[in-house]
Amino acid sequence: MEMINLNIDNKPVVVLKGTTILEAAKSIGIHIPTLCYMKLDDLNIENKPGGCRICVVEVKGRRNLAPACCTEATDGMEVSTHTIRAVNARRTVLELILSDHPSDCLVCAKSGNCDLQNMAHRLGIREIHYKGEQSTYREDTSPAIIRELNKCILCRRCEMMCNDVQTVGVLSAINRGFNSVVSPAFEMNLDHSVCTYCGQCVAVCPTGALTEVDQTGAVVRALYDPTKTVIVQTAPAVRAALGEEFDMDAGTLVTGKMVAALRRLGFDYIFDTDFSADLTIMEEGTELLNRLKRHIEGDPTVKLPILTSCCPAWVKFFEHYFPDMKEIPSTARSPQQMFGSVAKTYFAEKLGIKREDMVVVSIMPCLAKKYECGRDEFSVNGNPDVDYALTTRELAALIKVSNIKFNSLPSEEFDKPMGESTGAGVIFGTTGGVIEAAVRTAYELYTGKELPKVEFEELRGMEGLRKATIDFNGLPINIGIAHGLGNARKLLEEIRSGNSWFHAIEIMSCPGGCIGGGGQPYHHGNAQILQKRQVAIYREDSNKTLRKSHQNPDIIKLYEEFLGKPMSHKAHQLLHTVYFDRTK
């Protein structure tokens, strides 16, 4: 590995050959401003189109300014990052970008969190000297994502995520010059495309061009409707990230405060999606064991590997790209949907109210959940099982506008009977968690023995594609794990060609799993935040007394009082589903 020597702002720096000027400068604490550039370390995700020209620096001997993010440092190079020429150029280019951007800051959803706004502040822009025509394009609204192309700065991050990382391929820059715009093919609306609503485009957009559909208004109206009983369920990944919206460090667990805040907001019952995650394990674990038994007995019709089905973006991806394999995923619904289904039957009965008088709201790290609760099959006589899915960000905004001092709230408990969860339910929030939870239950149900150790480190980590073999008392079970739809595609193609080695595969659409969901607090390109959230999830698991889904007393009661047993007729009706071929 060859090392090279160069000078940045008169400071010597030694780096590996191939390092960019930007990285070399960062290594000695010089932070060159960037706008379109984004790198998520550890996840192998990098966007460097070299288009914004904000990171330009002076290089001795070079005629024009060099973009630091995509110019390789060379031996003997002399770089000046903040000469008057470079700074003037940077500010002029930013003024140009701002001159083609609506002055909507006061009412924009991204205000306070906007990379463009921050850059204008950082570079001290006080006047835009080059006013002129602004690009306009129609607004595109879908069940989960809103596209306001007038605010787009053509950084190409969304295109990179959608094509290279997720391999969904919906977004691409079209037209030319000033008329360039990022759009689905044939300029169709997002809801007509193969968009999975994974929301990774929203997670990386530096401006307010891509945001989520805001349902807080509808939720507030329900809260103030005296005829409605409003139930809320909270996803595991939310409690590991919500604190970031209140200036807490990434990785701070705020479960107790989150419950307290929801109570003060006026929700009638505060329940936990982790409860229905335990329920999902009961159903999916039983399904897995049924298939394994048939496989061991030599049944040639059995479909293996079984695939997890709790991620709605993954399900839609599957329905568009691999509909020929519809019988392979588990038929179990997601925890969000199982919760709604059980709440509007079992719990509504307990309260003695009609399902139409119950409003179920979920707090999710996800954008696809907004789409999922609107799927036709997840409603009864037109009344949806889950009425609204709010993102972590929307909840934080609601807490702030309600003047609740989040940071000084006491820690409170979830309500019964749908608030109790085991550690297995919590780890659903991270990649590797769903399958680890499934293994904890499947192992004990299959072998009849108690697990010597509850933690399965071999299933944990951040690499996009992982595999491990778990020994079920002599029976080796091959487990595959993928996060990011591009990685999921690889595993699916193996299955399609008959080359799959796995018995069970867990798939999550978002990097890191739900902790990196499209609805989480913005990470602004810092992948360390995802790492810290993951650590928090496993910490919450280890702090619980009950670690395995089948030990949850409220789940046991739910089966005794209502469902019978896993995969019973009633369980099938309420907790299972089918998939659809979405190729036209």
Binding site: N64, L96, Y130, G177, F178
Partner: protein, 159 residues
């Protein structure tokens, strides 16, 4: 020469791929300023804006198109500064190219009142009696130049 610079900018604005901000937006703004100048609405500060913007576009563009597209503007600013001055400070186009800055005016001491221009003006901008000095109403004149062509006494001045 201002009109020529504008002509080249119109081309490069069309051809720009749109990937980098300085060329995509900067060239458009350069063109808009030139349009403003050739329409007679230019301000003195526009010349400085053209120069600063042109140089930044040259210095920061991703490819050769953006790195050279401001050249017609920058070199015409350097070698034909008087033409820019005339447009911006005097409201006059020395090259006779910018229609908005052209005026057709009757030269009083040469006009014989033959009414030829009056009869041929397509918009009725010219007024005047037989054997009396005629007058062109600038607010109606569309600068078509027919009166200039028809006059046999060189009594119409293009300025």
């Amino acid at each position: 020469m201002v009109a020529i610079a504008k002509f080249y900018l119109e081309f490069t604005v069309e051809e720009s791929c749109g990937k980098c901000a300085p060329c995509r937006i900067g060239n458009k703004r350069l063109f808009e300023i030139l349009e403003k100048i050739t329409e007679g609405k230019g301000e003195a500060v526009d010349m400085e804006r053209l120069s600063i913007l042109g140089n930044v576009i040259k210095d920061t563009s991703l490819c050769g198109l953006g790195q050279t597209s401001p050249n017609p503007v920058l070199s015409s600013l350097k070698y034909f500064k008087n033409e820019y001055h005339a447009h911006v400070k005097e409201g006059r186009c020395p090259a006779g190219q910018c229609k908005a800055l052209l005026r057709y005016v009757v030269v009083d001491d040469k006009c014989t009142g033959c009414t030829l221009c009056f009869r041929n003006c397509p918009v009725g901008a010219i007024s005047g009696e037989k054997r009396e000095v005629h007058f062109i109403d600038q607010s109606l004149c569309i600068k078509c130049g027919v009166c200039y062509e028809k006059c046999k006494f060189d009594a119409i001045l293009l300025t």
